[in-house]
């Protein structure tokens, strides 16, 4: 972002006041603090405006692939380390499918990966995109396969071929759903840029040499394609780490301008792919393409993505409230826990497993787990009593109140404060089904 002084240079310095500010300098300060936009001054000329827009553009361009609800946003990142600010757009995972597979094979592949979904901490994880890979070398086969793939899924697509001829009719046919064109290398860049330009589609540039890549970016921009994603090569973990880090760093520091685009990596399949993908999630990749992926790999990988793209300053939390589970009544036990999402969803799932009716009181601990909240003084008997009173839990049920086992210490004082029976629950909520069944008897 330019400073106030840099903005000031572009203003007419007449202090006419039309922007709503008394002076041009005051307006410049508003601009620097992102409280105003340059359009508010009618006297800044077009050239200056363009320059200002360029220097205030995010250091990594934001682009979108696909259309509608499932479109995927990439880039727009502003930091190297996530303690500075949250990473914004999570890495997308894509599966590559050959254009030579039969209709039936394609259907099987697509449904295998659409079904590969997991729910964790209240969020559903899934595959984000499909790549259609040209193995046929034939424009018509490729186009037919692309149309078929599109009919099977509304996830964003990547059209992959080294031949612009093969790509062009599929690109034209699917341009409304905004597939990514993959991609342009040294030898086909002119033709690929033309296909992307003609259909207004994002384009991937491929090359493992950073200097050459910067030149290719220039060529693409001159050809009128700005929505780029860079594949800097994925030959080894070392290569991914270093190339991605250099590109991200020089862009953020603005020590070099040509590489400020989202990055992608093609990792293949098997253990090596998992290793590269895990690295790519942590180290700045916006799109990772697999040839295949199994559930036992996808779950840890998607959990990693969730962790890396969570803001460490703000834990994921749920609302303080009384949550009824399995239709509880006047005699049902009242269990309580913290509002940290991980805790809440874990406990909730275990209660559901028991099939016993339960009132679950969530106490606002500012998103901390049981022991963390207790150690931080945010989960005292007073906090719990206040929450139980505020939600009306105590009127809803005469059943016993159950503490998490790890804060057994709370039970005495809580019993005193409420004048009701308080029981100590199990340490791990996984033992709750058994505990609740015994309680029933």
């Amino acid at each position: 972002m330019p400073t106030a002084i840099e903005f000031f240079k572009f203003l007419p310095k007449t202090n006419c006041g039309e922007c709503g500010q008394a002076t041009c300098l005051a307006f410049a300060m508003q601009l620097a603090n992102q409280k105003a936009t340059i359009d508010a001054c009618p006297y800044v000329d077009g050239g200056a405006k363009e320059k200002l827009e360029e220097s205030s553009a995010p250091p990594v361009r934001a682009i979108t692939i696909g259309s509608g609800d499932r479109a995927v946003s990439m880039g727009g990142e502003t930091v190297l380390y996530r303690h500075e600010r949250r990473f914004v757009n999570p890495t997308a995972f894509a599966i590559s499918i050959s254009d030579t597979c039969s209709a039936q094979e394609m259907e099987q592949e697509v449904s295998k990966y659409l079904d590969m979904a997991f729910e964790r901490v209240g969020t559903v994880f899934n595959i984000d995109m499909f790549v259609l890979r040209d193995d046929s070398g034939d424009p018509e086969s490729f186009r037919t396969a692309a149309v078929r793939l599109r009919s099977l899924t509304d996830l964003p697509l990547v059209l992959e071929s080294s031949s612009a001829d093969v790509l062009s009719s599929a690109a034209a046919e699917l341009r409304d759903v905004r597939p990514l064109i993959y991609g342009a290398g040294q030898d086909n860049i002119e033709a690929m840029v033309a296909v992307a330009k003609e259909n207004s589609l994002p384009l991937a540039l491929i090359g493992n040499d950073l200097d050459r890549m910067a030149e290719m970016v220039e060529v693409a921009r001159k050809g009128g394609v700005e929505d780029l994603i860079l594949d800097l090569g994925s030959s080894s973990m070392k290569h991914i780490l270093e190339s991605n880090t250099v590109a991200r760093k020089v862009s953020l520091r603005r020590t070099f301008k040509g590489l400020g685009y989202p990055l992608m990596n093609l990792v293949g399949s098997g253990p090596a792919a998992m290793m590269k993908a895990s690295l790519a999630v942590m180290k700045y990749s916006s799109l990772v393409v697999f040839d295949s992926l199994e559930a036992q790999q996808a779950l840890p990988l998607m959990t990693l993505r969730q962790n890396i793209y969570t803001d460490p300053q703000v834990p994921i939390q749920v609302k303080e409230d009384l949550y009824p589970i399995s239709d509880p009544g006047e005699e049902s036990p009242i269990l309580f826990t913290t509002n940290f999402s991980l805790t809440y969803f874990t406990v909730r799932a275990d209660i559901e497993k028991s099939r016993q009716p339960v009132w679950l009181q969530v106490v606002d601990t500012e998103g901390l787990s049981v022991l963390t909240a207790y150690a931080a003084g945010k989960f005292s008997h007073e906090h719990v009593a206040t929450a139980l009173q505020a939600s009306g839990a105590l009127d809803r049920s005469k059943g016993p109140i159950v503490t998490p086992g790890m804060v057994a210490k709370l039970s005495g004082k809580l019993e005193e404060a409420l004048g009701r029976k308080v029981m100590v629950g199990t340490m791990e909520s996984s033992a709750l089904p058994k505990f609740l069944k015994n309680l029933r008897q």
């Binding site: 964790r120 780490l241 040509g258 290793m275 942590m282 840890p300 990693l304 962790n307 460490p312």
Partner: protein, 308 residues
Amino acid sequence: MAKVPLPKEKWSGNIGSVSLGDGGVRAGGGKGMPFLSFEDRSYPRALIAGEVMDDVSDFPQIVLDQFGEAASDPVSWAEEWKARGADLICLRLLSTDPDRGDASPEDAARTAREVADATGLPLIVYGCGIADKDADTMEAVSASLAGHRSILAYVEEDSYKRISAAAMANKHSVLAFSNLDINLAKQMNILLSDFGVDRSDMVMDPLMAPLGMGMEYSYSVNERIMLAALSGDRMLQVPMVCDASQAWQVRDCSDDDPSLGDVAERAAWWEFTTALAALLSGADILILRGHDAMALVKEAIDDLGGGA
């Protein structure tokens, strides 16, 4: 041709190093952010400590299956780790727990010595987690491992004196534990320094929370520690130990739910991913539980090019 400048930082500090065993094993010594060869051409190879328990009563069966017969006693288990390429053994003396047989410090110390003698590898030794008992145990362990530099684990803010003194008496290192916070980590190292522990005898554990259970904090805490240390904060220039075996605490790691895919492989990836996050954020020593995970981690370290 356009020339992309290498964004090499001019760090004013580097991570200290600790020598272990008979002096041949070194941990730490990095001069740049992990594995960036343009910052530090010889970024040190992270060491792997294979976990061995002296009581496996509630230990995951998947891991026991990986080790077979070898896991039936600490010595053969440790030898198996060595054969598979571990650099250290992380020995957990759980049997010293009053609820698990209450083994005497002397018995525990004998186990430690046997493991050291059989493998020749340096140890990281943990007690049972009860402060007073652990201090007794570590005093005995320190003496029994005299001459074989090991790491005594662990010391905390409110109980560090006895174990630190025990370590100093026989030139062992101490593992300084702190709770997911750069300031607490630094505070702990200052306490130890003031107590007389040399920085070349300190390693620190800032609590590597596992994938899916707090990794989002640890990754950044570790990175911040690395950045501060490289920027010259001497009290953080201490090699980092990350315990990836904690991955097994997370339910999704080893829950036997077929919809989550093959459980043994999933557990290996869960531990691997925790370990890789630790490596990329600055770990110098990794504690690992599964040997499947170790095979993957070793491959990753080779591929990342650490250890020139």
